[in-house]
Amino acid sequence: MLKYDIDSEIEPLTAPMVAAHGLTKLFSGGGADLRAVSDVSFELEPGIFAAITGPSGSGKSTLLHLLGGIEKPSSGEIDVAGTAVHALGESALAKFRLMQVGFIFQAFHLIPNLTIFNNVAMPGLLAGVASAALRDRVLRLLETVGIRDKADRLPHELSGGQQQRAAIARALVNDPQVILADEPTGNLDSAAGDAVLQLLGELNDRGKTLLMVTHDARIAGWAGKQLRMRDGRLVTTAET
């Protein structure tokens, strides 16, 4: 007699795009360990727009850095787009950051020496994308984020909002499945911030999985799911 496997019946059709299990990050220094992220576990399905919220010092940026492979966890497991990030070595982590996630920083972190075109092209160059294809892709992305005419400018010649748009274009150039944004509107006025959020929303509409850190409840309202953190722990997960 065949047994009915109830678990297989309820298993999602697709695996989670982002998953964390027992994730902990300790920072050492000053004679005491700081537990920035403590035993965090969650799963996000593909194509979701999630916000990590919480007060300053709650560990939300550290969590994002762990998910993006910029920091290594002290313990726990991370799975992003089918990759066990926690198990990757230095070189594999770099490849993961290059191809599978796109990072958007609060302070934009564009390379000041390079033109906007070159800043956006940089991940493609690092990935060895063919020149002609890369040029087309960069110009198309700049068109998408609305700064096509700023391609030959240097970062300091652009407004904050324009710089953040360039950073978004850079995050997309290798067509990653997951976009990680750390307070992407933190350095922008409300109009520029709303425009950036609009842009992120459009990306999410096109199927990108988006994980955004913010401490602003209004901005978090743009996301479909909120992960609330306090003192390094994930306290609630809520659909919005």
Partner: protein, 771 residues
């Protein structure tokens, strides 16, 4: 209020220096070196004449020296003593021509009796022994001669005089300010006690005599000299000179030494200024937030600039003060080396004004460099500085990174550098300066080592100078030379006193022989007839005589008109020499006898065996001096020591500055490295781009530095050649091939160490370094 502000400056200044102690250390080191070498050069130049003045004062030395034939000397001496303008005279020193043999060597000697007690008006200092008793069987050897022979107090010697030979002991070295030291002045000066003098034949065996006179009114020095000249009987040669002639004769070499030091010091100063500009600009970025906080909390731009000036000025001031001490020590050593050549005791002219002036120039230049580096700082508001830091806009040159050309390494590397062309060009300039300094040191050292060490430098193609004692007839001497196997050629040289255009000088007459004597012409041409002469560079410099002039030449009582055909380089007697054909002399003085012979050996001949046979053939009446003993370059040891110190010192300083500049450049790229790592750049890719950046810094510097260093050195050596005469540049390819890579180690490490640290750091740590 002012005190509180000073305390605020001090607090920040000390904190900054403690944080970047190595930057302060480099500034102290470079300022110290610049101050030490410039100060030492200037102080040495003024200390040489000061040493003469001090030694002359201590010895109560004469203002004029008079030389004449021994037979006429006593009467002339008595008449000079009676002159109203003359306040005192030295004892009269009779001079026998002879030989001194000691330590297995022999030198032609000018032998004089030593006064029984130190004279009231003197020129002698006995070093390393007491003033000997009149009946002691001893001799005192001039310092340079003692060094050449390798003997000292207690050594046994044989002195061969005009009428005999005496075995005795050298009791002491003597310094004599009336002569330059041997071999600058030949023959070697030997003083013997009264009893030895008598054993050698006494005054009767003397050929010349000399004495000194003190003048009451120094403004009447020339008039008194002319009056003394008029006292000499007709036909009696008389030589009168200022005792300071020896100092003046060495002045070109002293000036060359000073020039080297000042030039090296300026290299150091320029390196120091580059470093200050580079580190100041880097600080404006590194400490932008701190400076923003200062401005936001009430510090004015002027006060911020004062703070930056204090941070740089304090180490430079410390370097200048330490450098002044080092300058005095270095000048003391060099002055001692130089004045020893003239029998003087070193008296350091500390010249506080010179040192203070030099120090002030270095300090002001450092402060001006800070002012230059902070130009443009302050255009950003304090708020903007606090928020984003002070950033100079990157250059448009950075746009050269385009898709489609080259690999990521060269494109990213060049873009990193071109984005900050100011910083990059400063680093390249410092590299260039450091490499040029190293190349300059290596080439100059090789050139000076080569210069003078070969007899051909001085025009000497012969192997030996052969003097003969009075008892041997010149014809017999020539016969012995011609008959000795192993001797390829020999030539008599006539050496007499002469007057040219009213100036007393040594005159040398020879048969033109390219195989034995090759005159190194500095200007003009060779002698084409009996009525032409060449003059030494020293004589040309002191008299202003130049090629093309027809002048009166008087040898003995016979005058003739000669044309100065050219000026040549001559080591002997500091170039105070003229040369003509022996047929010219024999036309004037048919009975003239050669003073010595020059001899060239057959190729491959056993020099010791030939010498032994030659001496046996004339029963030891020859004095053979190998030419290499005669060509010790004056101040050669000082030049080489200075070059060694400066070459290593400046290479180390240049290395430190290059290390610091490339370190700052790499440090600034840490932020970019962090971003690149965060967006997925692999370590290998970043390492490649940094390697390209380092290459793009170093390769242009090397490409420019090698020709620039060679051309600059050649130009400077050509300038030196104008003074010293005919110094040919030697290009030591092998030494340069070793020195340049060694010099590049410091900047490569300066780039590699911080770059490696940045590559190893986590992306967030690297981004967080943007302060």
């Amino acid at each position: 209020m002012r005190r509180r502000r000073a305390r605020a400056y001090l607090t920040f200044g000390v904190a900054s220096i403690r944080q970047r102690w190595w930057e302060a250390a480099v500034q102290v080191g470079v300022a110290l070196l610049a101050m030490a070498v410039v100060g030492a050069g200037l102080v040495t130049a003024s200390s040489v004449p000061a040493s003469y003045a001090a030694t002359k004062l201590r010895l109560n030395g004469p203002d004029l020296w008079v030389g004449t034939q021994s037979a006429a000397a006593p009467a002339l001496y008595a008449e000079v003593a009676r002159l109203s303008q003359v306040s005192a005279t030295t004892p009269m020193y009779m001079v026998q021509s002879g030989v001194v043999r000691a330590g297995g060597k022999e030198l032609p000697a000018a032998i004089s009796p030593l006064p029984e007690t130190p004279p009231l008006v003197g020129s002698l200092t006995v070093a390393g022994g007491a003033w000997p008793a009149p009946d002691a069987n001893v001799a005192l050897l001039e310092r340079g001669a003692a060094q050449t022979m390798g003997v000292g107090p207690g050594s046994d010697a044989t002195v061969v005089g005009g009428a005999g030979s005496v075995g005795l002991r050298i009791s002491a070295e003597v310094r004599d300010i009336s002569h330059a030291s041997y071999p600058l002045s030949t023959p070697a000066v030997v003083y013997v006690t009264r009893s030895v003098w008598q054993a050698l034949g006494g005054d009767a065996a003397a050929t010349t005599a000399r004495f000194g006179a003190r003048i009451r009114d120094l403004s009447q020095l020339r008039a008194t000299a002319l009056a003394i000249r008029d006292l000499a009987p007709a036909g009696v040669p008389i030589a009168i000179n200022d005792g300071a002639l020896v100092v003046e004769g060495l002045q070109p070499l002293v000036l060359a030494l000073e020039g080297f030091l000042v030039l090296f010091g300026l290299f150091g100063l320029v390196a120091c200024l580059f470093f200050i500009v580079g580190t100041t600009r880097a600080d404006l970025i590194r400490h932008a937030r701190t400076l923003g906080i200062l401005r936001a909390t009430g510090w004015s731009l002027r006060q911020v600039r004062w703070l930056l000036m204090l941070q740089r000025g304090a180490p430079v001031l410390a370097g200048v003060l330490l450098g002044a001490v080092a300058a005095v020590a270095l000048a003391g050593w060099m002055t001692d080396q130089v004045v020893q050549l003239m029998g003087l005791s070193a008296a350091l002219d500390t010249a506080p004004l010179v040192l203070a002036g030099t120090g002030a120039v270095i300090l002001l230049a450092a402060l001006a460099a800070v002012r230059l580096a902070t130009r443009g700082f302050g255009r950003t508001s304090p708020g903007a500085t606090l928020a984003a830091g002070y950033r100079q806009p990157p250059s448009r040159l950075a746009g050269s990174l385009e898709v489609g050309r080259g690999g990521i390494g060269p494109r990213l590397g060049s873009s990193l550098l071109l984005g900050r062309p100011g910083r990059t060009s400063t680093a390249v300039a410092v590299l260039l300066l450091g490499l040029v300094t190293v190349i300059f040191s290596v080439i100059t050292e090789a050139t000076l080592s080569s210069f003078g060490s070969e007899p051909s430098t001085w025009g000497y193609a012969y192997d030996w100078r052969v003097d003969y004692v009075k008892g041997l007839a010149p014809a017999d001497a020539q016969h012995a030379l011609d008959g000795t196997a192993g001797i390829a050629a020999s030539l008599p040289v006539y050496d007499v006193n002469a007057t040219i255009d009213g100036n007393r000088t040594d005159a040398r007459f020879v048969t033109p022989a390219q195989d034995l004597l090759r005159f190194h012409l500095l200007t003009g041409r060779t002698i084409a007839s009996d009525s032409e002469v060449l003059i030494g560079a020293g004589l040309a410099a002191s008299t202003g005589l130049a090629p093309g002039r027809s002048v009166l030449l008087q040898v003995g009582s016979a005058p003739t008109t000669v044309l100065i055909a050219g000026v040549y380089r001559e080591l002997d007697n500091l170039g105070q020499v003229l040369v003509g054909r022996d047929s010219l002399l024999l036309g004037l003085q048919p009975k003239a006898t050669p003073a010595y012979f020059v001899v060239r050996l057959q190729r491959g001949a056993d020099a010791a065996g030939v010498r032994s046979r030659l001496e046996q053939s004339v029963a030891g009446q020859f004095v053979v001096s190998p030419v290499r003993d005669l060509i010790a370059v004056p101040l050669g040891n000082v030049f080489q020591a200075v070059l060694l110190i400066l070459g290593f010192g400046l290479a180390v300083v240049a290395g430190m500055v290059m290390f610091a500049m490339t370190m700052i450049l790499a440090d600034e790229h840490t932020f970019v490295i962090g971003i690149l790592k965060a967006i997925g750049a692999r370590r290998r890719q970043l390492a490649a781009s940094l390697a390209w950046a380092a290459g793009l810094l170093i390769v242009p510097a090397v490409v420019l530095a090698v020709p620039a260093g060679i051309l600059l050195t050649a130009a400077l050596i050509a300038a030196l050649s104008q003074v010293v005469g005919g110094v040919d540049v030697v290009l030591p390819v092998a030494a340069l091939a070793i020195a340049i890579p060694i010099a590049l180690l410091a900047p490569i490490l300066g780039f590699a160490i911080p770059a490696r640290a940045a590559l190893a750091a986590s992306p967030l740590e690297a981004i967080g370094m943007e302060r």
